[in-house]
Symmetry: C2
Subunit: 155 residues, 2 copies
Amino acid sequence: MRLSTKGRYAVTAMLDLALNGVDGPVTLAEISENQGISLSYLEQLFASLRAKELVRGVRGPGGGYYLGRSADDISIANIICAVDEWVEFTRCGGRKNCSGGERCLTHSLWDDLSSEIFDFLTKISIGDLIRRGEHKKADKAAHLSVVNDEGSRAA
Amino acid sequence: MRLSTKGRYAVTAMLDLALNGVDGPVTLAEISENQGISLSYLEQLFASLRAKELVRGVRGPGGGYYLGRSADDISIANIICAVDEWVEFTRCGGRKNCSGGERCLTHSLWDDLSSEIFDFLTKISIGDLIRRGEHKKADKAAHLSVVNDEGSRAA
DNA sequence: TTATTACCAAGTAAATTAGTAGGAAATGTG
DNA sequence: CACATTTCCTACTAATTTACTTGGTAATAA
């Protein structure tokens, strides 16, 4: 697994798209403005996202991007894999003395961890994140001024 | 959170250290050999790991590195944070029109996801990974030739 | 004394990230 | 139709990060 800043940009952009795309498509110019990402870099990212059918583009005036499918059917792993090319590491073939022996155990362990992280991110959808955000807002509205050390992060 | 190849190297090296360091310290030369990482790059990584007291170096002939504390007290998040400098993103201050309004929700959502991934990796220790590996070995020995689609990954 | 090892610093090649520039192809609107 | 808007596409580039190289110094066991 590989969670780089590139993947972060992509997830953030997709989140923006899901939030602002409820009535009509969202232009990359808007996302660029909102998130402080250059338009052309967004174009690159969205080319990858479009290739994996995570977004759908509409050209011309009034155009922009839609989510390619329901927000509940788009996982964080989907997004990150789309832009980050998912290099499979620990392909022990070709490595030193990795065949079968003690040596390979380390690789195998990392491989297990890696796929566990992947599973974790597969289970979180854009829809989940949004609902979670709504809950938090509702909670804040309900018992206002009740501040614990977790809630007061975003200034 | 940021899970780069650099963090991968560090986790792999720490795993190697934990596995081979049961009787006596492990030299970076050995890890370099085992994992195919250049000695000097390992030195850089271990400088960071040592600064966070995740490893302990012993100089001179017969020297090498020990884990800084019990394998159960070293989480994957610990390791990644040590080498990856943990840049805190989505510090919305200074950003566009991020103060309070709609705009910030996206950042906040990503921030939540980020800390969730962090929590996840905090809960997995080097010790956990090793025990998991041993279980897997035991399972293989017990009901041999029973292969499901998950177990047959590492060739 | 010597070999071995951690430890340290400066520099560098390669890869990746992020952004620029300059378009072409659709498409809604006047 | 003309035109503005927007996706879509390619090539180039600056900045940053990754991974490695080189050339040491300091500690220490034999």
